[in-house]
C-alpha cells in the first residue's frame, strides 16, 4: 500500500508540466534577470549569462522539456536584450558576443535536454517499478483469494485502484453461454445490445464495444478473458479514452493474470459440480435401493400377518402375536417416513430453525414418551442439572435429534443395560450426552457415523442409516456440534453442544407476591 502511494506522488511531480510550470520558468528567469541587473554593471554581463545558465539547469531538474526550452530561449533573449551592449536592443555589436549568444542558447538547450532525459529515465524506472509492484500485488492477492467470488472481488478492487475504472465481470455458465447479469452484481444486467457485444467478444476473443472497431456503439468496452483451457467470460469497463502505450501493456498483463486466476477457480467449480453430481447420483441409487428394502420388509409383515388373520381361525394368543407384528411394522414404516421427510427438509436447504425458550424437561418427557416401548428393555437414567435454565432451541428439530439418538442407542445397547442421558448448561451452551453400556462404536468408524447411509458393521437392525445424519444436520442448523466417542468402561457416547444463552427472566412483569 505504502509503495503505491509513494510512486503515485512521484508521478504527480514528474508529469505536471502544465501551464503553471511555463509561468514559473518565465517568473524565475525574469526575477533572476532583475536581480542581476546591478551585478552586470559591476562584474560585467558575462557573469549574468552564467547565473542565467545556472537557473536554467535548476529548472531542468524538475520541469519538463517545454518549460525548460522556454526558459533557455527566454534567458538567451533577456541576456541579449538587457545585458549585451547595446542594452535594450537585440542588436549585438561584437562578433564574440554573437558567438557567445549562440553558445549560450545551445548550452542552455542541451542542459535542459540532458537533464530532462535523465529525469525521463528515472521516471521510466519509477513507472516500471510501480507496474511491477502493481502486478506483484495483484498476483499475490489473486493467489491468496479462494473461490470465484473472492477472486472477482480482488480483481475489481485492484483494477479500481490502478486504473480508476469500475470493472464488471460477465462469466459464462459452464456451457459457454454468458450470464446476462454480473456474477457479484446480480442487479447489474446487460442490455440486449451489450449482451450481443459481450457475446461477440467472448466468442471471437477480441475486445469489442466502445473504442474498438467492432460494435463501438456501446458505452462499455468488452475485453475477453481468454484462458488456456476455458474462457471464463468477459470484462466490461467504461473507458474515457482508448488505452495505449504502457497503460495498455499493464492492462493486458492485468487481464492475463486475472484470467488465469478466474480460470483456476472456474475449473475448480466445474470439477466440484461434477463431483457433486457424482455424489448425488450415488446417494440417489443408495437411497432407492435401501428405501425399497426398508419399505418392503414392514409391508410384507403387515400383508402376511393380516392375511393370516383374515383367512383362518387361530387361537387368540396367536392372533395377538400377529397383530403385534402388524403394529410394530407400522411403527417402523412411520419412523422411515419421518426420517425421509426430515432428510428432505435438510437436503432442500429450506430448513428454518425457529428458536424459542423451552424447558429441557419437556423435550426429555416428549421423547421418552414416544420411545416408551423401545426403551422398555433398558434402564434410562436421566440427569438434568439442578436449576437448569430455559434453553433456546427449535423444539421440533431437537425432538427429532434426541429421538434419533436414543432410538439409535436402543438398537445397539445390550438389553437390560443402562442408558444415561445427561443434560447441563455450561459456558452459554446446552450440553446433552447419551451414553450407553454397549460394546461401543468401531474405532475406525467414529469419523463417519454421522454420514448418510452409514450402518454399523454387522448391525442386526434395519434402517436406512439416516438417523444420525439427521441428528448432525439439525444440530448444525442450531450452530451446534455433535460428536461420537467411546468411553472406556462404559460404551458409546454421543454429545451435543448447542449454543444457548441464559434467558432474560429478570424483571418479570406483573408479578406481586
Amino acid at each position: 500500500m505504502n509503495i503505491r502511494k509513494l510512486t503515485r506522488e512521484n508521478r504527480v511531480i514528474s508529469f505536471s508540466s502544465g501551464i503553471k510550470n511555463y509561468f514559473l520558468s518565465v517568473m524565475v528567469i525574469g526575477l533572476t534577470a532583475l536581480l542581476c541587473s546591478p551585478l552586470s554593471n559591476s562584474q560585467g554581463y558575462h557573469l549574468v549569462s552564467f547565473i542565467l545558465l545556472f537557473m536554467v539547469s535548476i529548472l531542468a531538474t524538475f520541469m519538463g522539456i517545454g518549460p525548460v526550452f522556454l526558459a533557455s530561449a527566454l534567458s538567451a533573449l533577456v541576456w541579449n536584450y538587457f545585458f549585451i551592449p547595446p542594452n535594450l536592443t537585440f542588436h549585438i555589436d561584437k562578433a564574440e558576443d554573437i558567438l557567445m549568444f549562440g553558445m549560450f542558447f545551445i548550452v542552455a538547450l542541451l542542459n535542459g535536454i540532458f537533464t530532462t532525459r535523465v529525469r525521463r529515465q528515472e521516471q521510466l524506472a519509477v513507472e516500471r517499478e510501480r507496474r511491477t509492484n502493481a502486478l506483484f500485488q495483484l498476483s499475490g492477492r489473486l493467489s491468496g483469494a479462494s473461490g470465484m467470488d473472492e477472486v472477482l472481488t480482488v480483481a475489481i478492487a485492484e483494477i479500481k485502484s490502478h486504473f480508476s475504472l469500475e470493472p464488471f465481470f460477465i462469466l459464462q455458465d459452464g456451457n459457454k453461454v454468458l450470464h446476462t447479469a454480473g456474477r457479484l452484481r446480480k442487479d447489474r444486467k446487460l442490455s440486449p445490445l451489450e449482451y450481443q457485444v459481450a457475446e461477440w467478444s467472448f466468442t471471437h476473443l477480441k475486445p469489442a464495444g466502445a473504442h474498438t472497431t467492432t460494435l463501438p456503439e456501446t458505452e462499455q468496452t468488452f475485453f475477453p478473458l481468454a484462458g488456456s483451457q476455458v474462457n471464463p467470460g468477459v470484462l466490461a469497463v467504461k473507458l474515457e479514452k482508448p488505452l495505449h502505450g504502457d497503460q495498455k501493456v499493464l492492462w493486458e498483463t492485468f487481464l492475463a493474470q486475472i484470467t488465469s486466476a478466474l480460470e483456476r477457480e472456474f475449473l475448480g467449480e466445474l470439477a466440484q459440480k461434477a463431483r457433486f453430481l457424482d455424489e448425488s447420483d450415488r446417494l440417489y441409487k443408495t437411497l432407492f435401493s435401501s428405501i425399497s428394502h426398508e419399505l418392503r420388509i414392514p409391508v410384507a409383515t403387515i400383508m402376511g400377518a393380516s392375511d393370516t388373520l383374515l383367512n383362518s381361525a387361530h387361537p387368540s394368543e396367536i392372533q395377538h402375536v400377529l397383530m403385534n407384528e402388524v403394529f410394530t411394522a407400522s411403527l417402523r414404516l412411520n419412523r422411515l417416513i419421518e426420517n425421509l421427510l426430515n432428510m428432505s427438509r435438510l437436503e432442500s436447504g429450506l430448513l428454518s430453525v425457529r428458536l424459542d425458550w423451552h424447558d429441557i424437561n419437556d423435550l426429555v418427557n416428549k421423547v421418552t414418551e414416544d420411545l416408551r416401548d423401545e426403551l422398555r428393555p433398558y434402564t434410562l437414567v436421566v440427569s438434568v442439572q439442578e436449576n437448569m435454565p430455559l434453553v433456546r432451541i427449535d423444539f421440533g428439530l431437537m425432538e427429532q435429534v434426541l429421538y434419533n439418538l436414543l432410538y439409535n442407542t436402543t438398537q445397539y445397547a445390550p438389553v437390560a443395560s443402562e442408558i444415561h442421558l445427561d443434560i447441563r448448561h455450561e459456558g452459554g451452551r446446552l450440553i446433552m450426552q447419551v451414553t450407553d453400556s454397549g460394546p461401543g462404536l468401531p474405532e475406525e468408524d467414529l469419523p463417519k457415523v454421522f454420514s448418510k447411509f452409514y450402518r454399523a458393521e454387522g448391525s442386526l437392525t434395519g434402517g436406512l442409516g439416516l438417523g444420525l445424519s439427521i441428528v448432525r444436520g439439525f444440530v448444525e442448523a442450531h450452530n451446534g456440534q455433535v460428536t461420537a466417542e467411546n468411553i472406556t468402561g462404559e460404551g458409546a457416547r454421543f454429545s451435543l453442544l448447542i449454543p444457548s444463552e441464559n434467558p432474560d427472566i429478570e424483571n418479570l412483569p406483573f408479578e406481586k407476591s
Binding site: S330, W357, H358, N361, N365, I505, E511
Partner: protein, 227 residues
C-alpha cells in the same frame, strides 16, 4: 364415560372413517360420518353431535374454513385429526377454536383419551366456582388453590395462569393465547415468561415437576391442563 355421546367424523379417507367408526363404536360412541366439508356442516347442524373429529385436507373446502364456519354456532369440542403436522397449521386450528389436534398416523388409545378429556371438559360450566383435579382444587371465587387441603402459596400471576389453564382443561391453549390472556397483548412474544411461570406452578402442583401429569406441554404449541 357417557355411552350416548354422538361423534361426527368429517374425513374424506374411507379407510380412516371406517377405522374410526369401528374403534369409537367399540368404545360406546354413536358415529355419524361425512366425506366432504359441506355435508359435514349439514350433519353437524342436523345431529348436533357431542364432538366433531375434523380432517383439515378435505376435497371441497379447507378444513380451517370449515372450522371457522362451525365455530359460528357450534360450541362443543372439535378435535382436528390431520396429516398436516406443521406448527403453523396446529396453532391456526387451535386459534380458530379447535379444542385439540392429533396428527395422523395416531394411536387409537391416544385419540380415545383426547375425546374423553374434551367431552368431559365441555360438560364443565364456564363459571364453575370450584374446579377439582385429583388432590388439587381451585377456588375461583376466593382465588385460592389447595393441594391435599393445604393452601398453595401462589402469586397473583401464577394463580391467573393456573385458573386459565384449569378452566380450559382438556383443551390445548396456545402460547400466544395464554400470554395475551394473562399478561396482555404486548407480551405475546415473551414465551420465556410463560416457561418460567409454568415451571414455578409445576413445582407447586406436580408430584414430580420434571415429569408433569397435570400441566402438560404441547411441544411448540402451548399447554394443556389434564389428568
Amino acid at each position: 364415560m357417557s355411552g350416548t355421546d354422538t361423534i361426527l367424523i368429517i374425513d374424506d379417507e374411507l379407510q380412516i372413517r371406517r377405522l374410526l367408526e369401528i374403534t369409537l363404536t367399540a368404545n360406546g360412541y354413536k358415529i355419524i360420518h361425512a366425506a366432504t366439508g359441506k355435508s359435514g356442516l349439514v350433519d353437524a347442524a342436523t345431529f348436533n353431535p357431542s364432538l366433531i373429529i375434523l380432517d383439515l385436507g378435505l376435497p371441497d373446502k379447507d378444513g380451517h374454513e370449515i372450522l371457522k364456519k362451525l365455530r359460528e354456532w357450534y360450541f362443543k369440542p372439535v378435535i382436528i385429526l390431520s396429516v398436516r403436522n406443521s406448527e403453523e397449521d396446529i396453532i391456526r386450528a387451535l386459534d380458530n377454536g379447535a379444542n385439540d389436534y392429533l396428527t395422523k398416523p395416531f394411536r387409537s388409545g391416544e385419540l380415545l383419551a383426547r375425546i374423553r378429556a374434551a367431552i368431559r371438559s365441555s360438560e364443565i360450566k364456564p363459571d364453575e366456582p370450584l374446579l377439582t383435579f385429583g388432590t388439587l382444587s381451585i377456588d375461583m371465587l376466593n382465588h385460592v388453590a389447595r393441594r391435599d387441603n393445604e393452601i398453595l402459596k401462589l402469586t397473583a400471576t401464577e394463580f391467573s395462569l393456573l385458573a386459565l389453564l384449569a378452566q380450559n382443561h382438556g383443551r390445548v391453549l396456545t402460547h400466544q393465547y395464554i400470554l395475551k390472556e394473562v399478561w396482555g397483548h404486548g407480551y405475546i412474544e415473551q414465551t420465556q415468561y410463560l416457561r418460567v411461570f409454568i415451571a414455578q406452578i409445576r413445582k407447586k402442583i406436580e408430584d414430580n415437576p420434571s415429569k408433569p401429569t397435570l400441566l402438560i406441554t404441547e411441544s411448540g404449541i402451548g399447554y394443556r391442563f389434564g389428568e
